[in-house]
């Protein structure tokens, strides 16, 4: 900031220029207006060579323009300094919030993809999701949902709200089925996926969300779900398997 000249006297009058021709000095010379309009971009260094030549030629004759140019130069020196002091920083937390917002937005604006589409896109979608962010978000959301669920169970045992924070769009529970939110490792093959789904008698019913989370439907009852969950969690290519909160109570 030291490069900016700081006038010492309040409202100091412009110092008379040595080249000033006294009586006409404050009058713009002919052709002044279009040149004066270019001065800000002369000061910021973005004029074309042709414009530059015009401005420089005019400046040598026009005191008014020389004075205006000093003002623009002051701004050119001061504005970047002021901008640096403005408190706006990019951060992974902010980017994660943006992704969350996109997810919420896409949930209301796009129809859920078909199952065939899911199988085709599973590995390449996961590949693109920034992992630390996806994991931070997923875990954070699960923690929150679990906490809310616990509170709901302990305080209002009969009024169960529905939570489905990891899914593209909340959907009602499916009769006779329980659902699991699942995230696969990026290197899962379609063959692995099919084998796993067969083992737990499950099928993918939704996803992927922006964060790469799929919803898996499992046959409910007979203690089936805990077994299936254990199978899913034990699989090397499954990174996360959590029951959908809305299904936690019949």
């Amino acid at each position: 900031m030291t490069e900016i000249s700081l006038p010492t006297a309040p409202c100091s009058q412009p110092t008379p220029d040595k080249e000033q021709k006294a009586p006409i000095s404050k009058q713009p010379v002919s052709g002044h207006d279009p040149i004066a309009e270019l001065l800000p971009w002369y000061a910021n260094g973005t004029l074309t060579p042709a414009e530059l030549a015009l401005v420089e030629h005019h400046l040598s004759d026009c005191l008014v323009c020389r004075q205006e140019l000093e003002q623009y130069r002051t701004l050119d020196a001061a504005c970047p300094t002021l901008a640096k002091q403005r408190d706006w920083q990019a951060s992974s937390a902010h980017f994660a919030r943006i992704l969350q917002q996109l997810q919420a937005h896409e949930a209301v604006s796009t129809p859920p993809p078909t199952r065939r589409h899911l199988l085709e896109t599973v590995s390449n979608w996961l590949q693109y999701t920034p992992k630390p962010i996806a994991w931070a978000l997923a875990l954070e959301t699960i923690t929150l949902a679990t906490l809310l669920l616990t509170l709901a169970i302990t305080t209002h045992p009969t009024a169960m709200p529905t939570f489905e924070t990891l899914s593209d769009s909340p959907k009602p529970a499916i009769a006779g089925l329980s659902r699991v939110h699942i995230v696969f490792a990026e290197d899962i093959t379609e063959r692995d996926l099919r084998a796993l789904l067969t083992a737990v008698h499950g099928r993918l019913v939704d996803g992927p969300s922006l964060l790469g989370v799929y919803t898996l439907a499992l046959p409910a009852g007979h203690g089936n779900t805990p077994v299936a969950l254990a199978t899913l969690r034990a699989h090397a290519r499954v990174r996360l398997a959590e029951p959908v909160a809305a299904d936690a109570q019949p």
């Binding site: 900031m1 900016i4 000249s5 700081l6 006038p7 309040p10 409202c11 100091s12 009058q13 412009p14 110092t15 004066a36 309009e37 270019l38 800000p40 971009w41 000061a43 910021n44 260094g45 973005t46 004029l47 074309t48 004075q67 205006e68 000093e70 003002q71 623009y72 130069r73 002051t74 701004l75 050119d76 001061a78 504005c79 970047p80 300094t81 002021l82 901008a83 640096k84 002091q85 403005r86 408190d87 706006w88 920083q89 990019a90 902010h94 980017f95 919030r97 943006i98 992704l99 917002q101 996109l102 937005h105 979608w125 693109y128 999701t129 920034p130 962010i133 922006l210």
Partner: protein, 215 residues
């Protein structure tokens, strides 16, 4: 129309640097590649955020406009055309548009709540349009420890959003006047007129505080 763009002298201005790379990045984003989106975010968000802070003054508003901007970029990445100008211009154009829309919503909301009246350009601090968002710890209010800087900051805040945008794009972003016309969606002559009035008002405001700028 952006034939002048390559004359930009500050190499730090172009993050991606060339139209082809910018286009590839935007195509990846159009294909829902969040990693490419993250690259774009870290490449441009710091500058866009500071620009939005200059426009909107308050962190809360700047954040909201930034989120709107990023959402629009995500949804419209396929529409970026390097033939129309630098990626930076395209992004700043979206940000400028979102910023003004947010400001308009904010003003409407404020009028509905009949909280306060928006005074003219020469209002005092107290006449801030966004009293609801005034944050006493707002970093913009940090005393710069340097008299003119502090007064200049004050004077800039008294200008209209449109005037601040033109000043910011010219002297912080070092845009050509053609680029500013593209970003703000105004004819080149309007850009030049706004600049003229912005400088005039700044010198008048600083004169009120006993300063002359630059001369």
């Amino acid at each position: 129309m952006m034939g002048i763009a390559e004359q930009t002298q500050d190499p730090s201005i172009d993050v991606a640097g060339n139209g082809h790379e910018d286009l590839m990045l935007m195509r990846r984003i159009a294909d829902r590649d969040t990693q490419a989106f993250e690259t774009l975010y870290y490449g441009y968000a710091p500058r866009i955020g500071k620009f939005l802070m200059a426009l909107l003054k308050y962190r809360e508003l700047a954040d909201e406009a930034m989120n709107d901007t990023m959402l629009t970029v995500w949804q419209n990445a396929g529409r970026f055309d390097p033939g129309q100008g630098r990626l930076a211009s395209w992004l700043f154009g979206i940000a400028h548009n979102k910023g003004l829309k947010l400001l308009e919503r904010q003003r409407r909301h404020q009028r509905e709540e009949t909280l306060d009246t928006v005074s003219g350009d020469y209002g005092q601090h107290e006449a801030e349009a966004f009293s609801a968002h005034v944050d006493v710890d707002n970093p913009e209010r940090i005393v710069l420890g340097w008299e003119l800087g502090d007064n200049l900051l004050w004077a800039l805040e008294q200008l209209t959003c449109e005037h601040r945008a033109v000043l910011e794009l010219t002297f912080t972003e070092h845009c050509t006047y053609q680029e500013i016309a593209l970003i703000t969606g105004c004819p080149v002559n309007t850009v030049k007129t706004r600049m003229f009035h912005a400088r005039k008002k700044l010198t008048e405001l600083l004169a009120l505080r006993g300063y002359a700028v630059g001369s």
